[in-house]
């Protein structure tokens, strides 16, 4: 069962057609993500990163190609079919958060777990854990509009993880964070990844990308590089670093 990739896309294409000229945003992407893998997607602005993860999460329709999730064909699903699949298997962090405005932070985070069938008690415990890890325990009763962009973004991550989804899709989850908050997010991502969470994450932040097992680089809607980040050993084990070099 664990041999089945969590994500497999084949020759995936997205062409936006809004009035005038067609805009090819994703041009023939093949990508496979195994269970437990952490894949970072990087590339310049406009290279198709958001479009790609939106299609994988069923938030945007493909123009052609195939999307398979957990061995099941997904690109042919109806909108309601996608909605069920997302609720049961996918946590999504949007580039621009998308929190429910008239619900508290706590309810935003608990909702997916409740929809996924978790008991209220379990949903609350999970919410308390996630908000705590992200330094937001004291914001649970606030409305999203009362939060800073960085806080909303962390709430969005907590919400995406509430359900312990098979697949976490995250689009720039640290885009609005300062370095201390980024560290909280990195720590949580590292922790859930070590617990087996499969992660596909779009980022410009090299600290985030460097935690991944694999980095996929997009350019003009195509993959130009896909591979593991090599291990360097600049330091002898247990020795000091060499961040500073004082010249003599």
């Amino acid at each position: 069962m664990s041999d089945t990739p969590v994500v497999r896309v084949v020759n995936l294409v997205k062409i936006y057609q809004t009035g005038g000229l067609p805009v090819p945003a994703v041009r023939g992407v093949d990508l496979t993500v195994e269970a437990g893998e952490f894949v970072a997607i990087t590339g310049p602005s406009g290279s198709g990163k958001s479009t790609l993860v939106h299609m994988i999460g069923g938030l945007d329709t493909r123009s052609s190609g195939e999307i398979w999730l957990e061995g099941r064909r997904a690109d042919t699903l109806s909108e309601s079919g996608w909605a069920v699949l997302r609720r049961e298997q996918i946590g999504f962090v949007f580039q621009f958060f998308n929190l429910v405005g008239n619900m508290t932070v706590a309810d935003n985070v608990e909702l997916p777990a409740l929809l996924g069938g978790a008991s209220p008690r379990h949903a609350r415990e999970r919410r308390e854990y996630l908000l705590g890890e992200l330094g937001l325990a004291d914001r649970a009763d606030a409305a999203p509009a009362q939060l800073s962009g960085g806080e909303q973004q962390r709430v969005a991550l907590a919400r995406a993880l509430a359900n312990q989804p098979r697949l976490l899709l995250a689009d720039e989850p640290t885009g609005n964070l300062d370095s201390r908050n980024t560290r909280d997010v990195l720590r949580l991502l590292g922790r859930v990844h070590r617990q087996g969470q499969t992660i596909v994450l779009v980022t410009h932040d090299a600290r985030v990308a460097s935690m991944a097992d694999r980095v996929v680089s997009l350019l003009d809607g195509q993959i130009v590089d896909d591979g593991a980040i090599p291990r360097v050993r600049r330091r002898p084990a247990g020795g000091a670093g060499d961040v500073v070099e004082l010249r003599s």
Partner: protein
């Protein structure tokens, strides 16, 4: 290293090994454990320039040890160093040379060069991330060490952003 040693000696006279220990404790885990030989070579040069002087101190059952102290000229050199603005980081251009010249040599494909470099930078970033974690764990009070690592990470981020620009422009 010259100025670091002068600064330490401006505080108080010291022998070579004490200077090594002081550098280690100030810069913490972010600093490569300085080589004692290198410290003596630098002290020798500073002495020749008239910035430091050494006195032999006798020790029981052991060879004399040299204690170094700063001279007036040394203090002046140190002040000049502190007062003048410091050069900004210079573009590290060896990779850029390879990238620009690659098509001429026919030896390498630009895309492949950029991709390999990106993976290399990311692996350095991962290493720095682990170093920062280790610093946080073992020596959290040493803010200098953590700031140095953070600075190195920000430089690396800039290198990666620039790499992306190169890939866009030169494809």
């Amino acid at each position: 290293m010259r100025q670091a040693l002068l600064a330490l000696l401006a505080k108080e006279p010291a022998h070579g090994y004490e200077l090594k220990q002081a550098l280690e404790s100030i810069f913490g885990i972010a600093y490569p454990s300085p080589n004692i030989g290198q410290i003596y070579v630098t002290l020798g040069r500073l002495e020749k320039d008239g910035y430091v002087r050494a006195v032999d101190v006798e020790q029981a059952n052991r060879p004399n040890k040299k204690v170094y102290y700063i001279t007036a000229a040394g203090r002046e050199a140190l002040e000049t160093w502190v007062d003048e603005p410091t050069e900004g980081p210079r573009v590290r251009d060896e990779f850029f040379m390879k990238l620009v010249l690659a098509p001429l040599t026919g030896l390498a494909d630009r895309m492949a060069l950029v991709n390999r470099q990106r993976r290399h930078y990311l692996s350095l970033m991962r290493d720095l991330g682990e170093l920062a974690e280790a610093a946080e764990r073992t020596d959290p009070a040493n803010r200098a060490s953590l700031l140095l690592i953070e600075g190195a990470m920000l430089h690396l981020q800039a290198d990666l952003d620039w790499l992306e620009r190169c890939q866009e422009e030169l494809q």
